[in-house]
Amino acid sequence: MARQLEGSRAVAETVARCRPEVVCAYPISPQTHIIERLSTLVGAGQLAPCEFLNVESEFAAMSVCIGASAAGARSYTATSSQGLLFMIEAVYNASGLGLPIVMTVANRAIGAPINIWNDHSDAMAVRDAGWVQLFAETNQEAADLHVQAFRLAEQLSLPVMVNMDGFVLTHAFEEVDVPAQEAVDSFLPRYEPRQVLDPAAPVSIGAMVGPEAFSEVRYLAHVKQLQALDAIEEIASEFASAFGRRSGGLVSSYRSEDARTVVVALGSVLGTIKDTVDELRASGQRVGVVGIGAFRPFPAAAVRHALERAERVVVVEKALAPGAGGILAHDLSTALSGLPLDVHCVIAGLGGRAITKASLLELLGDADAGQLESLRFLDLDRSLVQGELARMAAVRRSGPTAENVLRDAGVVAARLS
């Protein structure tokens, strides 16, 4: 039954219906509402048996999940931003050990400068950590993806990260149909681990591996990711049959069949982009959208299939690899190599800057006119940038950049677009 719910609450209630046995929590905005709700559900006995642990850091949170998962318990945690980076050593370790932990990442920028608002820098920082990375477009999809994530993780013995845009989704109230307990129970079988710490059958987990076998162990991690390409699609189809709605999958296309220009993006910004495309379609422009539902494993074949008829691909991404440009755009270019189309990378929405329909309309107008560069920064305030560059050229001790730019901007935390 659909209810008006905060995104975090919808996710928490869905996670609870997946019956995790160990939930570990360390607060960081904007994921806190998820673990707060889970804490309440465990405390009230509505999620049982489940051990809820308040730990001293994200590094400990992921480490507790590692121990719990290795002991055969369904394990869950949630984090964001700096928290994801603080736990990164354990993030790699969890996938290296093949432990099917599920983690929500409420996507948020990485500092310095410190910034609590949404972008995808955190998820991109762990893109090579060996986790499956799913991205939700809506709160309904965020909730649904968690059911699929546990199923996928346990099927492949691989950790899965469900990314949902911080604040934009986590704190937004909208109609969500939290998957029913009975339906989740029949969709998600009991966790049967491939490896488990069991006094009745002792095994060593986490042995040192030298050059004689390290490549093979790592290659097997790659194989698992490739297996996930099929599994993600299969699980999404099965989910659609069981729950009566489509969520997840590798890629989703919207009005892209005959499109000359296709916009590609991850996460909630797809909604704004679809509205923009509708408006452009109404004026006769052949524009479409392809959303990437799974960033890792990267669905190269599906992406290529979805985009091969386009003339131009505009990647709108909320992350930046300084000195290189886009991250999604780079993976996309590799997947599309040899096709007669142009790939443009647009860095947008960093640190919570709104990606507005007006800006997207201007962007796609430039693309249509052949005036879009291979790398563009959407709505960049050039005067602020030039001001700081001039200051740095003029004086050696020019001071801290962020503070200088803020002073020049003249507003604090009020400039959204």
Binding site: E21, V22, C24, P49, C50, E51, L53, N54, V55, E56, S57, F59, A60, A61, S63, V64, C65, I66, G67, A68, S69, A70, A71, G72, A73, S75, E89, A90, N93, L97, L197, D198, P199, A201, P202, V203, S204, I205, G206, A207, M208, V209, G210, E212, A213
Partner: protein, 354 residues
């Protein structure tokens, strides 16, 4: 009844001869039924104190838990020498994750078994001093304050031996390591630094904290057993000499552990819920020089120029321990485990507790 019922000492060695005691007082390690939790064939150096300590501790813990036990290991010598892929020396369920997270991983294992209703399965976490005192301290402190049902064991060999003998915050003053060389005006590791993790554990007021050495097997096994009778966070700090890092003879490992205790440099005590409940008395007080001279890491204190002033400062540290913990027979009545005296300081004559 504690192990103190046994009072037969072999001449010249203080070692307790199992042949002289009744079967009920013999060590787990001397029994054919022992688990051999860390079995032979591993790659530890000759004379490794940590290998002895781990075998003693885990066999005693396996005995205490009737084999219902999981071990979690930090990165370090113990992890590396025991599991060169695809071999393993562990005859217990064993998990290694990272260097700095073993206490939290152990918490996770304990939480999983609790959620599954398997409260009979107990968890032992273990690490060297680096994995405990330095990089693992955040996770350890968190595990302590939450009072998670884990026995965490530190095998303290006073430096980062696995990476080639670098200083840790458990490295004692004046000890030479690869990052505290005795060069220029420096005489090895600085005085006035480092942290006393057993006392930090006591300050967390967890159910049980104990120190032990590999030279007194009955005491060590007693403390493991005592710890396993309790629930919640427990900490055992085991002193394990390292011939490689200390520049000592491999046949001196047990001797050095005994000397550390008998000089007062390593106080052996127990504490419950924040109060010290027992200390192991020094049987025959010895000067620290007897301990220092056996180790290459202190050679610069004796040659080419003798530094009795530095040796005297180390002696002062031992004397302070003896005063602070009441390690001499005359200091306090409490000579055993679980005795009536709540604090050795309180029993000292004329001085207020700190």
């Amino acid at each position: 009844m504690g192990y103190r019922a046994v009072r037969f000492y072999q001449t010249g060695s203080f070692a307790v001869g199992n042949r002289l005691v009744g079967s009920e007082d013999r060590s787990v390690q001397s029994a054919t039924r022992r688990n051999n939790s860390l079995s032979s064939g591993h790659r530890a150096c000759q004379g490794c104190g940590e290998a002895l300590g781990a075998r003693y501790v885990l066999d005693a813990a396996m005995e205490a838990t009737a084999g219902q036990m999981v071990a979690v290991n930090a990165t370090g010598c113990l992890e590396v020498f025991s599991t060169p892929y695809p071999e393993t020396s562990w005859r217990v369920p064993w998990l290694h994750s990272l260097f700095g997270n073993a206490p939290a991983v152990a918490t996770g294992v304990a939480a999983a078994f609790k959620a599954k209703g398997r409260t009979d399965v107990r968890v032992v976490g273990q690490a060297g001093d680096g994995g405990t005192v330095d990089i693992g301290f955040g996770c350890l402190s968190g595990m302590f304050e939450r009072n998670d049902d884990v026995l965490f064991v530190c095998y303290d060999n006073e430096a980062y031996m696995n990476t080639g003998v670098q200083r840790s915050s458990a490295t004692p003053p004046a000890a030479r390591t690869a990052t505290t060389e005795a060069i220029g005006d420096a005489l090895g590791n600085a005085f006035g630094q480092g942290k006393n993790l057993p006392l930090l554990a006591v300050a967390h007021e967890i159910p049980y904290v104990a120190t032990a050495t590999i030279s007194e097997l009955h005491d060590l096994e007693y403390k493991v057993h005592r710890a396993m009778t309790m629930r919640g966070a427990r900490y055992l700090h085991v002193f394990v000499p390292c011939p490689l890092g200390w520049g000592s003879a491999t046949h001196d490992t047990v001797r050095l552990a005994r000397l550390a205790k008998e000089t007062g440099l390593f106080p052996v005590f127990e504490a419950e819920h924040g109060e010290i409940t027992g200390v192991a008395k020094i049987r025959r007080r010895l000067p620290v020089e007897d301990y220092l001279r056996l180790q290459g890491r202190y050679r610069h204190l004796f040659e080419p120029v003798a530094r009795p002033d530095v040796v005297a400062r180390i002696q002062q540290l031992a004397d302070r321990n003896i005063r602070r913990f009441g390690l001499l027979d005359g200091d306090a009545e409490n000579d055993g485990h679980g005795g009536a005296c709540s604090s050795p300081d309180a029993a000292r004559t004329g001085e207020p507790a700190p």
